[in-house]
């Protein structure tokens, strides 16, 4: 092999290594190591807790989404919010802060908008006495369906599309079904779209983090 040919080979290797470095660093930059699956499980547990507290003391056959204790839902939802942000604040202090990306901001904004809208609507409708249980379930189902659907489109995540469909089904049953039917479908939606999906999300996130670990030395 001539000297020129060897130099050419080395030069090509060096240039290729540079291109590979660029690609790998861009991929590293896009990689998210945050995990959000736990928030779905947390809120699923919160909805179930709210239903249980609201119906405490009543026979199971008489259970409904709202139950007999009117403060059960507001107290449970506010407590869960405090718990969630408290945990995020604690965990956020450890390790380097994840950089902002446009996609991350879009997803966060959607969930924040949904949360604020739900709070405003339910507080106002509840205080005015114009809210009934059917509408309650239908609005929750519609809002969660919308947000999950939009998120699944942005993230190109089919599993989340499934959760949107589940919530939309609950919204429809909330409008047409009896109170008992609405409660059963609501509980099923919580289980599938929050608990099961949340656990699936946590497992997927752990697998992704385990696959990509350690710093890339430049």
């Amino acid at each position: 092999m001539s000297v020129d040919h060897e130099m050419n080979d080395l030069a090509r290797q060096e240039l290729t290594a540079r291109l590979n470095l660029i690609e790998s660093m861009i991929a590293e930059g896009r990689q998210k190591t945050e995990s959000w699956g736990w928030t779905f499980v947390l809120w699923g547990a919160a909805y179930i807790a709210a239903i249980v507290f609201a119906n405490l003391g009543a026979p199971v056959a008489e259970w409904s989404t709202w139950g007999h204790h009117t403060l059960a839902w507001p107290i449970t939802m506010i407590s869960t919010l405090v718990l969630m942000f408290g945990y995020i604040g604690l965990v956020g202090d450890k390790g380097p802060k994840q950089p902002e990306t446009t996609m991350g901001r879009a997803i966060f904004s959607m969930w924040l908008a949904m949360g604020v809208s739900m709070m405003i609507f339910f507080v106002a409708a509840g205080a005015s006495g114009r809210l009934d249980e059917h509408i309650y379930i239908a609005v929750i189902g519609a809002m969660l369906g919308t947000t999950n659907f939009a998120s699944s489109m942005i993230l190109k995540w089919r599993a989340q599309l499934f959760t949107a469909l589940v919530w939309w089904t609950a919204a429809v049953v909330g409008c047409f079904g009896s109170l008992t039917q609405s409660l059963i479908v609501f509980l099923a939606a919580i289980f599938l779209a929050q608990i099961v999906f949340g656990v699936y999300g946590m497992i997927s996130e752990r697998k992704t983090m385990a696959r990509k670990s350690g710093a890339v030395h430049a």
């Binding site: 240039l15 861009i26 930059g29 896009r30 802060k97 950089p99 901001r105 430049a218």
Partner: protein, 108 residues
């Protein structure tokens, strides 16, 4: 039949020396994927020492490829780096130059 023209050495693009350094190239590539990033995050991703990382980021800042913002968050200092438009263009030009050089290295 005339042979196809290949790029002569004088026509080959020069690689931007500011970006060509491995760590600086890694930093610009990382910043191209995010809106802004903390110093500690860049350090975790590149495995570089504080001193070396600071020096390379300073070179990029002096070249106008990176912008720095220093602030306090809950009384903790935070240094954020963001790629500038000039940095984005320089990285794009560098990649194109690399590809042209690779093409001529294969032909050569």
């Amino acid at each position: 039949m005339p042979e196809p023209e290949t790029e002569t050495m004088t026509e080959l693009p020069e690689l931007n020396p500011v970006i060509h350094g491995k760590l600086r190239l890694a930093l610009l590539s990382l910043l191209s994927a995010v809106e802004e990033a903390e110093f500690t995050w860049l350090r975790a991703k590149t495995g570089a020492t504080d001193g070396n990382l600071g020096a390379q980021l300073l070179k990029l800042e002096e070249a106008g490829y990176v912008a720095v913002e220093k602030k306090f968050v809950l009384r903790k200092p935070q240094t954020l780096y963001r790629m500038t438009q000039a940095g984005r263009q320089a990285l794009t030009d560098y990649v194109q130059a690399l590809k042209r050089l690779l093409g001529s290295a294969i032909d050569g």
